[in-house]
């Protein structure tokens, strides 16, 4: 049975208590995108400042549970300074992480047979975001963890076409 320590890793609580890149950016020029989880009222606002296909700055505001807010904070740290293309790849990797079946977590590593392939799931690239993988043991909370990423994805679409 999944325990609280699977969900509330120390690094997650740290990002919840001290969120990174908190605030807003003047929009325009920044792109501003809102995401909501109607189930629990979680709200994430992503501000994206993209110059020459690079995310030069990114800010997060909104309110919600520890999982949605720490996921947003970790996302901001991971994405800032990356190219739009790299940011998209990170979104894909994170969503792949959230779709690994719970049973596979018990027995396998991410690179074991049956897990998402290395082309979509690059554990090294995810870095500390991998701490959120315990969320899949709590299916109701997966939407909390993916909310900022879906919001970011929408923002990247508004910045420009899928390939640059």
């Amino acid at each position: 049975m999944a325990g609280l320590e699977d969900l509330y890793r120390e690094i997650i609580l740290d990002h919840y208590r001290s969120p990174r890149n908190r605030g807003d950016l003047p929009s325009p020029p920044a792109v501003r995108v809102e995401g909501f989880n109607p189930l629990c009222g979680d709200e994430v606002v992503v501000y994206l400042d993209v110059v020459d296909a690079v995310v030069v700055d990114l800010k997060i505001s909104g309110q919600g549970c520890s999982i949605s807010q720490s996921s947003a904070s970790m996302m901001s740290a991971a994405v800032k300074g990356r190219s739009v293309e790299e940011a998209r790849a990170l979104v894909r990797s994170f969503k792949a992480l959230m779709s690994i079946h719970e049973a596979q977590l018990e027995t396998d590593d991410a690179d074991a047979p049956g897990a998402a392939g290395p082309d979509v799931l690059d554990a090294d690239a995810l870095g500390e975001l991998a701490a959120l993988q315990g969320v899949v043991k709590f299916p109701v909370r997966i939407k909390c963890a993916t909310l900022p990423w879906n919001t970011l994805s929408q923002g990247l679409d508004e910045v420009g076409p899928a390939t640059s």
Binding site: L4, L13, Y16, L39, G41, G64, S66, I67, F138
Partner: protein, 426 residues
């Protein structure tokens, strides 16, 4: 109206008090040896648990009697019809309906009961510019049907405001009633525990020529209801919050109103005659019950109200009032500075056992998650009352709600669980 039975009663010289520990033995889901572990169930405002008597009544019906109602001439079909109609009368008597056999309409839930009124009475009677008065504490079930009507028909929706003491502010009632044709109010809030004093509202509404619909979903399970004294024109409640099964709710309305209302859903059962060029509606109450009704659910709901009558609604009410006062006291005592309760102070008449709170800057989802690992079931979210959440200035709350089977141990478990929440997120 304490029944003659002694279910869960402690015998003694004083007034019989309800014994939740004895009652709990009759609820299989609340058994200490439940597969998956025992639960501390504090979410009865969302849906109650049910006693063995209800489960057995439904099982016995399916095992011995089931056939479709109002159709067959064979013995078990007649018996199924008899049980379904007997359930209607039992449920009607439970709320002191003057004419239960014709005025009690079975619906899917209270949401459907309210929609029935919105789609039949309101769409026939209301004109653009007419007003409907609701309150700021409504559940979406008693709000969205009226918003839909307002949008479709140019009806004006008005709101009775919430006062700082979490009761409705009736100061401007007469002004708000000017031009109103309907007042649609919850008798008790599913978020705040506020019990609305209906009497002055009903009297003022009737003086102003408006009808009154009462959403009794959070009231009927918890204290005696006498429809004659409530004085409303429409009253809805739902089975699964009062020890009954899901899938069955109730609409009561005065016979002359039901008679004048057009039918709701079309199909079998609700017709007397069908021709290629039209149809004639059935008599009350079947005119509003299209298709095969929830027969076993009606049998189960009748068993639930009989169970509640045996326990005695006065005793349920007294028990919940005392336990609510204990819970609020314990919560404040243990977590005072971290805890904000959204709801009135304990008061047997004006407050129910629904306790919503904010806790220590921790999001309700996280509070509920930590409590869940201790088997404690509370609700976290907006409780289908988003306008009310905006009034309170929060996105969500944590809500514990009490019923007849809860006791001090359940409250203590909640208080201890919150200490762990505080530690984890400190």
């Amino acid at each position: 109206m304490t029944g003659g039975g002694d279910v869960g009663a402690t015998r003694g010289t004083g007034p019989e008090r309800l014994d939740p520990r004895a009652l709990r033995k009759e609820f299989p889901l609340l058994a200490p040896d439940r597969p998956g572990g025992p639960v501390v169930y504090l979410d009865s405002a969302a849906s109650s648990q049910r006693p063995r008597a209800v489960l057995e009544a439904m099982d016995e019906y399916y095992t011995t009697t089931h056939a479709n109602v109002h159709r067959g001439v064979y013995a078990i079909a007649e018996e199924a019809t008899r049980r379904y109609e007997a359930a209607r009368v039992a449920v009607g008597r439970f709320v002191r309906a003057p004419r239960p056999a014709t005025e009690i309409v079975f619906t899917k839930n209270v949401t459907e009961a309210i929609n029935l009124v919105a789609y039949t009475w309101a769409r026939k009677e209301l004109r653009p510019g007419d007003a409907i008065l609701v309150s700021e504490l409504e559940h979406h079930a008693n709000l969205v049907p009226w918003l839909m009507l307002a949008e479709e028909r140019g009806i004006e929706l008005r709101f009775l405001p919430l006062a700082p003491d979490y009761h409705l502010d009736l100061t401007d009632l007469d002004r708000l009633l000017d031009g109103a044709r309907l007042v649609a109010l919850s008798a008790a809030s599913n978020v705040l525990g506020t019990v609305v004093d209906l009497e002055p509202v009903v009297a003022a509404a009737h003086r102003a020529g408006a009808l009154v619909l009462v959403d009794g979903a959070q009231l009927a399970p918890h204290r005696p209801v006498d429809l004659g004294r409530v004085g409303a024109d429409f009253f809805g409640f739902t089975g699964h919050k009062m020890l009954g099964p899901t899938g069955i709710g109730v609409l009561w309305a005065r016979e002359e109103l039901l008679d004048a209302m057009p039918p709701f859903l079309g199909g079998g059962e609700m017709i007397r005659d069908v021709r290629t060029d039209g149809f004639t509606s059935n008599d009350l109450p079947w005119k509003f019950e299209a298709g095969t009704p929830p027969i076993a659910e009606a049998v189960g709901l009748a068993a639930a109200v009989e169970y509640l009558e045996r326990v005695g609604l006065e005793r349920v009410h007294a028990h919940e009032s005392a336990l609510t006062a204990y819970a609020i006291d314990r919560l404040r005592d243990a977590h005072g500075e971290q805890l904000t309760i959204f709801g009135p102070e304990p008061d047997p008449l004006r407050r129910s056992g629904v306790i919503s709170f904010a806790f220590a800057g921790v999001h309700p989802h996280d509070v509920a998650q930590v409590l869940d690992t201790r088997g404690i079931c509370v609700r976290a979210g907006h409780h289908c009352a988003k306008p009310l959440m905006r009034c309170l200035g929060v996105g969500a709350t944590t809500r514990a709600s009490l019923y007849l089977y809860n006791d001090e141990d359940d409250v203590d478990a909640l208080v201890d669980g919150l200490a762990e929440v505080r530690e984890l997120f400190a």
